[in-house]
């Protein structure tokens, strides 16, 4: 028992050491450091190393607001100011030089801050004006409505939700659109409360990035089950998977 446990611990250690070595090998121009992950951080980066960056910038008064782990404009300008004040190249990117300088000038307690980010701070991050929770809700709706559909069909459903939010004939919030009585069958029969998979979340993200396979549709229906004459009278755009999309 003890022997096998020890073996397991040793093998896990070995594997992780190998993985770390592998990462260093693939990114040879970054010096190894105890802190930061070794990659270049810049606008758009996110993750634990961005939290570290923000914490360090806060430590010397270059940043005041939350450490959300997202390298946004605020962090960017703080980095630029830091680079300017300390006389290194001002590019707003946190490469090995800036990282080393930051490490020497500031302190960071990795264990204390890790909890801070996990306490739901992610949920307040906004993409395209929709909160992470709005996105979750839309992913739920997409999964409930179209989990058997090809990926492109799921993006299409997410697009219809977003097109409805934009349209003046529908409520103007994602929740208003999703929970409009009789609008979605998945809402009526409770399938919306199934746990969505990664694909549904990715589909919503792609739709938010503007990819709209429907070309601006606000309706869709399954021709095998829909009997409403009204829905058939809408101008049809195309068929994706089982659904016909129309305006």
């Amino acid at each position: 028992m003890n022997v096998t446990n020890n073996m397991r611990v040793i093998s896990i250690c070995l594997v992780s050491i190998l993985m770390i070595c592998g990462m260093m090998f693939t990114l040879p121009h970054f010096s190894s450091q105890e802190t930061f992950s070794g990659r270049v951080l810049e606008r758009g980066s996110s993750g634990q190393d961005v939290v570290e960056l923000q914490e360090r910038l806060k430590y010397i008064g270059y940043l005041k607001d939350v450490t959300d782990g997202k390298f946004g404009w605020n962090t960017y300008w703080a980095v630029r100011k830091f680079q300017k004040d300390f006389g290194i190249k001002v590019d707003g990117k946190v490469g090995s030089k800036t990282q080393r300088l930051l490490v020497s000038k500031t302190k960071y307690n990795p264990t204390a801050k890790r909890e801070n980010v996990h306490q739901g701070k992610q949920a307040t991050y906004k993409a395209h004006g929709h909160s992470a929770n709005d996105i979750k809700l839309m992913a739920n709706a997409v999964y409930g409505e179209a989990r058997g559909e090809p990926y492109i069909g799921q993006v299409a459903i997410a697009s219809v939700i977003l097109n409805r939010v934009e349209s003046s004939s529908f409520p103007n919030t994602p929740s208003g659109v999703i929970f409009e009585p009789r609008a979605f069958t998945a809402v009526a029969d409770g399938q919306i409360w199934l746990t969505p998979n990664e694909n549904a979340k990715k589909a919503v993200q792609d739709a938010l990035n503007g990819m709209d396979p429907t070309g601006g549709c606000t309706y869709y229906f399954n021709p095998a089950t829909a009997t409403s004459a009204w829905i058939w009278s809408r101008p049809q755009v195309k068929r994706i998977g089982k659904h016909i999309f129309c305006r």
């Binding site: 990659r39 605020n74 630029r80 009585p181 009789r182 709209d212 004459a229 049809q236 755009v237």
Partner: protein
């Protein structure tokens, strides 16, 4: 023997029957109470709607009676607020999949019109004759909607009509529904539809129908399906014959007419989808939902890959302005830059996989339908320094440049763009180069569309 068994079983059976009865009764009670709750929600939304339509009609009536400009601002703000509440009421009624959309649109338009009027400086720019006429028409239409709603309302109360019946009637999908509420709402929508020709002025018009995304704004000739296939393969960098290509011509409802192309490589199991416009053969969007391995590139390298991809497809002078990482992909937005002036309406998005640097997503709707080479810019009447003074003094400017954005009326305007912070929040503010107006104020750190 039998009597013994019967003697034991009878009381058990009796208890079981009574138990079952009680359970059934309770279930039924619970079901009824949930039905009543749902019905009450509908009733509330419906009576709220009639109440708000009453108010809306009153406030619109007031604007006709009022003479002073300042008072109009007040009533217009009320109209704007009430119309939005009324829309929210409609959204809570089980009216989806029946034609009530014209009425919702009507409410939205009233709201837009009222908002524009409320925020306008009516001392400088008073209501025109036509706008006054519009107000009159809006009012008379609101009166019609309200009187029909009132009629339905009194029937609902007098005859104890239930919204749950509306729901089940609509669900039954019968051709000839005999339902007072449904009839009433259909009449309202028909009334609104009869006068759909009202002209709300340029701003509202463009807000409603995105005419910008029409074939008119495209350059080039009509293409065939074969040409669309070729364009798709060339866009993806795949040799002809190396992949299975399918096309779908699409129906008539499309905003712009496009051919959908699906490309499947025999090796991979995923299908890449693209839309190519019928006129000019422009790729509007592309999605490649392949599995993405471990991250090998950083964002800086992804930005370069994106730029190289765009240049390969003849899109020069594209400047990257936002970067965002989702899992192992980078979503990068680019705008066209003409002599250093960023043209924000000419925007496109590229999604780069961070394992190989391959472009796995592309979205260029705005760019394709807006892009023009060699725009003519107005000569600025303000210098950047003067424009800076128009910005809130608490705003700490970090970056500034010239840029073109769309204003509220969807017109392109040349501005000075100031990026910076106010109380630790990042914003960008666009100041018109001619009159110093703040055209657009946008909160940053969310990659939204601009203009």
């Amino acid at each position: 023997m039998y009597s013994k068994i019967a003697g034991v079983l009878t009381p058990i059976l009796a208890v079981a029957v009574i138990g079952l009865g009680m359970w059934g009764y309770q279930e039924n009670q619970e079901k009824n109470s949930i039905l009543i709750k749902a019905e009450n929600q509908y009733q509330r939304a419906f009576h709220d709607l009639t109440f708000h339509m009453d108010q809306l009609q009153d406030e619109l009536g007031k604007t006709l009676a009022i003479n002073s400009r300042r008072q109009i601002d007040g009533t217009m703000s009320n109209v704007w607020r009430i119309s939005s509440v009324a829309r929210s009421d409609v959204g809570q009624l089980p009216l989806a999949l029946m034609s009530f959309s014209k009425t919702e649109e009507f409410l939205a338009k009233i709201g837009d019109f009222a908002y524009k009027t409320a925020v306008r400086d009516l001392n400088k720019d008073p209501l025109s004759e036509k706008e006054y006429e519009n107000l009159k028409t809006l009012h008379s239409r609101a009166v019609e909607i309200q009187s029909e709603l009132r009629r339905v309302q009194s029937k609902v109360i007098d005859q104890k009509l239930r919204w749950m019946d509306v729901e089940s009637a609509l669900a039954s999908e019968e051709e000839n529904l005999d339902n007072t509420i449904i009839d009433g709402f259909r009449t309202i929508d028909k009334t609104v539809n009869e006068y759909s020709d009202i002209d709300f002025g340029p701003g509202i018009q463009t807000l409603q129908n995105k005419e910008r995304f029409s074939d008119k704004n495209l350059t080039g000739k009509k293409i065939t399906e074969e040409e669309a296939k070729k364009i798709a393969l060339q866009f993806l960098g795949i040799q002809a014959g190396q992949a299975n290509v399918k096309v779908d011509r699409g129906g008539k409802g499309h905003e712009y007419s496009a051919i959908s192309v699906a490309v499947t490589k025999p090796a991979g199991n995923n299908t890449i989808h693209l839309d190519v416009t019928k006129k000019g053969g422009h790729v509007v969007w592309m999605i490649n939902n392949r599995n993405i391995a471990k991250q090998k590139l950083d964002i800086q390298q992804a930005v370069q890959k994106g730029k190289a991809f765009l240049e390969k497809h003849g899109l020069k002078n594209m400047e990257n302005y936002t970067t965002e990482q989702y899992d192992n992909t980078a979503v990068l937005s680019y705008v066209y830059s003409q002599n250093g002036v960023r043209i924000y309406p000419d925007a496109l998005t590229v999604k780069v996989a961070l394992d190989t640097g391959e472009v796995v997503g592309y979205q260029a709707e705005q760019f394709i339908f807006n892009h023009k080479e060699n725009r003519k810019f107005v000569t600025p009447k303000l210098s950047m320094k003067q424009a800076r003074k128009e910005v809130n003094p608490n705003f700490k400017v970090q970056e500034s440049r010239k840029a073109v954005v769309l204003n509220d009326n969807n017109d392109e305007v040349l501005c000075y763009e100031f990026m910076g912070t106010v109380s630790d929040q990042a914003f960008r503010i666009f100041i018109n180069v001619e009159n110093g107006d703040e055209e657009v104020v946008e909160k940053l750190d969310k990659p939204g569309k601009i203009g």
